[in-house]
């Protein structure tokens, strides 16, 4: 690991003042579950690491009539142990429960979950976010892409967004609080992520000198919600596909729906077609399956991951049925 300067600010103002102008120059440390591996493998080689753990204002999980606030430093454990989350936001609760390692739950944070880097094995082996070899050849399309994207990879980014929380936050119309030199701003969770054009960019809508401070989830307001993850193992394992669903129901009839998929695209994937397919209908095995079909209608699987289309459909269908209860 390359040597670096370690700083531990106690306010967010101090923190952003310590960040850099360019990505990679300074890295932000919270739970450490991703950053240390990236540094050990020289995927990132910052000259400075800013530890956010000392900023008390960024922690905590708070539920009130206006909704839920997850501090960026709230750990997965903090979220799981909150009964209001479990009762009102099962989509969030289930997504966090899918991180099965107690160690990672104790260390991993909400902000870290959103800002962790892709698990693409070419990226992690040093071939860059767009996974190109020294000749510029893209390695994913004709390589081993069994865990890669089936949607949204037109831009040349083939990794999948690894966030556990993001699909649930998008389904629940959450906003992400960001702080930078120009002060605080909020971004819709659905707008927070992006497919990067190269290694000088990141997979989210932050400037290099901004940090995530909190997540604000609107009051459920009767939105029934759920997350379903297809994971192979009970041991710590990334979902092969996941879906989060929030439904406004009148009886069994869907008045409004928000559906987002995880682990299928370089960004958490909002499935508008599935939402449209469901609105106005009663939730049944058939309508849920039809919505799932619609969600994946545009899927373009790569050479080895057509199975993920099926898994994503199942995730959507099962999440809809779970949300409807």
């Amino acid at each position: 690991m390359q040597k670096f300067e370690y700083v531990s600010p106690t306010t967010k103002e101090q923190a952003v003042a310590l960040l850099g102008e360019n990505w990679g120059d300074v890295e932000v440390l919270a739970g450490g579950t991703d950053l240390l591996s990236l540094m050990k493998d020289y995927i990132t080689t910052p000259r400075r690491v800013v530890n956010l753990k000392g900023i008390a204002a960024l922690s905590g999980v708070r539920y009130s009539a206006s909704g839920l606030r997850l501090g960026a430093l709230a750990t997965f454990d903090d979220v799981l142990s909150n009964t209001a989350v479990r009762r009102n936001y099962p989509a969030i609760w289930a997504a966090v429960e899918g991180v099965t390692s107690p160690q990672i739950r104790a260390m991993g944070t909400v902000g870290g979950d959103l800002c962790q880097r892709p698990r693409c094995w070419y990226y992690r082996a040093g071939y860059g976010l767009l996974a190109k070899d020294e000749t510029g050849h893209a390695l994913v399309p004709d390589g081993d892409n069994r865990y890669h994207a089936i949607l949204g990879h037109n831009s040349g980014a083939y990794f999948v967004n690894p966030s556990s929380l993001a699909p649930a936050l998008i389904a629940l119309a959450a906003k992400i609080g960001v702080y930078g030199p120009k002060g605080a701003r909020q971004v819709d969770a659905a707008e927070f992520f992006r497919a990067p054009g190269g290694d000088g960019e990141r997979e989210y809508q932050l400037s290099p000198n901004e940090i995530v401070t909190e997540v604000l989830v609107p009051a459920p307001g009767g939105m029934k919600n759920a997350t379903y993850e297809v994971r192979q193992r009970e041991a710590l394992d990334w979902p092969l596909a996941s879906a989060s669903v929030a439904l406004k129901l009148t009886g069994r009839n869907v008045g409004a729906a928000r559906i987002a998929l995880g682990h299928v695209a370089p960004v958490p994937w909002r499935a508008g077609a599935a939402e449209s397919a469901l609105v106005g209908k009663a939730v049944t095995e058939q309508t849920a399956a039809a919505a799932a079909e619609a969600a994946l209608a545009d899927a373009k699987p790569l050479s080895r991951n057509a199975y993920k289309v099926q898994l994503a459909r199942v995730a959507v269908k099962r999440a809809i049925l779970a949300a409807a209860g």
């Binding site: 690991m1 082996a125 192979q232 041991a235």
Partner: protein
């Protein structure tokens, strides 16, 4: 003349009981020291620069920048310019520095240029493999397979396989080496070969074999991958020499461990089997290929166990790939050939519309000399898993997306004793020591030594001190092939018996008896059956005077205390989600014979461990190679997936014991139960979903692909 045999069942005090491992206390206290825990004064840290390319010629190496890094104490080129590298990760330059950071910085400062050469790293697609990479084995024919197939009433043909897996020891390979003077090396390795690894190193270093002192208390997993000194072991000693003899610690990083420290070869097979309507098995034909890197892996024993199939035609090809080399992996070759054999026979029984248990038992005579054992074991396993109640014809796994199924398999292994010398010392104060140059892989070696010595000397367990893990102790074999328990128990029994007889001779006059009228029981020496004419063990030992008594026991030796050849049956109950392809193990049972069980507790652990390793390679594990870069894509424990505690289901183990088993003596156990899981689980999945998932691991993509072939049951949800 002493008679060497095991005590009768009613006379056994410790033997065959449930005894906790004697190194357990230090392991649960965190005090057990593994190679990687050894810290020596002035110790340096070693690192290896590895080839990023799977096939390349080294054109130049420049280590000057590395040498200038502060703290670097030695830089050694392992493979110089002109060398052709055959797999990514191969060792090029070794570095030692005062701390890990400096060693790593230096490693990154080494400049190596390569001329890249074409590589082959995957062999799934037989048609794309160039002839130059194929090493065929001569066709082998038994009987008249063509005629048998033409006369068979039912024939099935299937394609089966198992991907390359690694050993993935949780403690990686490595050692600490230091020159204690200019001719002597002290080595702390992580090894399965305490008695021989020092000689291997000495040969490479061109010093006398006795000049390498090997010490190892504990090893964090080996599974067949830690028999050799390895190039990194030799280079570790070379670095120490270059650094003036200072100790150098060189352990493989996790990615290197999974790239170069050993794999189990893959298998791919097309198998055709034929039978008569009544279920009589008549014909076998197989074409197998696979890869274990650049080397071969011997002639595969197919058809596995069912060697008596009257008509057979077999072809085998080894594929040379530019991948890390194969090493023995717990029961080499057996799990792979077991899979292709038992799966093909299971498919045949499904075609015959027979319960595979009935089909196996009907043909059991074709398994040869252990047919009766297999039959008993199958029936016992069937009882444990309630086969007759729970089995259903293939594909009738119930309504809904979750399908349940049962599968079975049988297996065999040798497990005869390796050569072993044991020194048993009785001190005049009554203390007893066993010394042996063996190793305890977590299998229970120490515990076995203590049980055997205490049993023989009529002492409580804690009266025996066990000293192993040092090559200055009497030579004992490497722990491979499940040969250890038979070897060490035999030599220790002989040493203990002889030592006791000498002691009895010393004390006999005091008891007014002949030595052969005496026995050692309950911590006393007494006239057989007469506790009034005896003395305590301590009193007896005092008769030795001032000199302790040391006796060498050997295996092989007189009498038969161990033998070879076991069977085993396993049955699995699984659930498969046919919408996602996710397989879960509900219940998994194993019935195993291993002759005389010395410690049922550690023996049982071996079987559970083998079964769970089997779940790992059946459902999760595979080394994934990238065609273009030639590199391992998953040299980590994130995507090289092992089962967790929640993934293994309910497990049950039953040992075949008592008359007919105990009297065979001790037989090794570590490997046989790891053979059947792939086949049993594959057969259970086929039974559940109605179609064969040909290749292990049975990951969701493979399960869904198999279902799609069946007729698109998963094409829509």
């Amino acid at each position: 003349m002493a008679e060497y045999k095991w005590p009768e069942a009613d006379k056994r005090v410790h033997l065959g009981k449930r005894i906790s491992r004697i190194d357990g206390p230090e392991k649960v206290a965190g005090r057990a020291k593994y190679a990687y825990d050894i810290n020596r004064p002035g110790m340096l840290f070693g690192k290896i620069v590895r080839s990023p390319y799977a096939h390349a010629k080294i054109t130049s190496i420049d280590t000057s920048a590395a040498e200038r890094i502060p703290g670097v104490r030695a830089v050694k080129i392992i493979q110089g310019p002109g060398t052709e590298i055959q797999w990514a990760g191969d060792e090029i330059v070794a570095i030692a520095a005062v701390d890990e950071g400096a060693a790593e910085d230096a490693a990154r400062a080494v400049k190596i240029e390569y001329e890249r050469l074409p590589h082959l790293v995957n062999e799934q697609d037989r048609s794309s493999i160039p002839d130059s990479a194929l090493i065929p084995t001569a066709e082998s024919v038994v009987g008249d397979p063509a005629k048998a197939f033409s006369e068979a009433d039912v024939t099935v043909e299937g394609v089966y396989g198992n991907e390359v897996i690694t050993h993935c020891c949780l403690e990686s390979h490595g050692q600490i080496a230091e020159w204690t003077d200019e001719n002597n090396v002290l080595l702390h390795p992580s090894t399965q070969s305490v008695s021989s690894v020092g000689g291997q190193l000495a040969q490479s270093l061109r010093i006398p074999a006795g000049n390498v002192h090997v010490k190892m208390d504990h090893i964090g997993g080996g599974f067949g991958s830690k028999f050799q000194i390895d190039r990194w072991g030799v280079e570790c000693a070379n670095l120490s020499k270059l650094a003036g003899g200072k100790p150098v610690k060189l352990m493989l990083e996790r990615d290197a461990e999974l790239t170069v420290a050993g794999v189990r070869p893959s298998i791919r097979a097309r198998v055709k089997v034929g039978a008569k309507k009544d279920g009589t098995l008549t014909a076998w034909e197989s074409e197998t290929w696979g890869t274990g890197g650049q080397g071969g892996f011997g002639t595969l024993p197919v058809p596995y166990v069912w060697t008596g199939i009257p008509n057979q035609r077999k072809n085998q090809t080894t594929v040379k790939t530019n991948t890390g080399p194969a090493r023995a992996w717990r029961a080499p070759n057996h799990p792979q050939v077991c899979l292709i054999t038992m799966a093909a026979l299971d498919d045949l029984s499904a075609e015959l519309k027979m319960d595979p248990l009935d089909f196996f038992i009907k043909n059991i005579a074709m398994t040869g000399v252990r047919a009766k054992v297999y039959e008993e074991e199958l029936l016992k396993a069937a009882e444990m898993i309630e086969w007759k109640k729970n089995w259903h014809p293939r594909g009738e796994g119930g309504a809904g997306p979750i399908k349940r199924g049962l599968g079975l398999s049988i297996h065999t292994w040798g497990g005869g004793p390796h050569a072993s010398d044991c020194d048993l010392t009785i001190h005049p104060d009554g203390a007893v020591e066993v010394k042996m140059g063996t190793q305890d892989l977590g299998t229970g070696t120490r515990t076995v030594l203590r049980i055997v010595a205490a049993e023989t000397l009529g002492l409580p367990l804690d009266a025996v001190k066990v000293m192993i893990g040092d090559n200055r102790f009497p030579v004992s074999g490497s722990s491979g092939g499940s040969t250890t328990v038979g070897g060490i128990s035999s030599s220790t029994r002989r040493a203990s018996t002889d030592a006791l007889n000498q002691l009895l001779a010393k004390v006999a006059p005091d008891l007014n008896a002949q030595a052969d009228q005496l026995e050692a029981v309950g911590g006393r020496i007494q006239v057989i059956g007469d506790s009034s004419r005896g003395m305590t063990w301590k009193q007896a030992c005092a008769k030795l005077g001032t000199q302790p008594l040391t006796v060498r026991g050997k295996q092989p030796g007189q009498g038969t205390l161990a033998s070879s050849g076991v069977g085993g049956a396993q049955m699995a109950d699984v659930s498969v989600d046919i919408e996602t392809g996710v397989v879960k193990v509900n219940k998994f049972v194993a019935v195993q014979d291993c002759g005389l069980v010395i410690d049922e507790k550690t023996a049982e652990s071996q079987v559970f461990g083998a079964m769970i390793m089997g779940v790992c390679f059946s459902l999760y594990e595979e080394r994934i190679m990238d065609d273009r870069t030639g590199r391992v894509l998953n040299p980590n424990m994130e995507f090289y997936k092992l089962a967790g505690i929640g993934d293994v289901g309910e497990m049950k183990v039953h040992f075949m014991k008592g008359p007919g088993y105990d009297d065979r003596g001790v037989i090794g156990l570590g490997e046989p139960p790891t053979v059947s899981p792939g086949a049993a689980l594959s057969n259970a999945v086929a039974n559940a979903i109605g179609v064969r998932v040909g290749t292990l691991p049975m990951t969701p993509d493979r399960v869904l692909a198999a279902l799609a072939r069946k007729g698109g049951s998963n094409a829509k949800i």
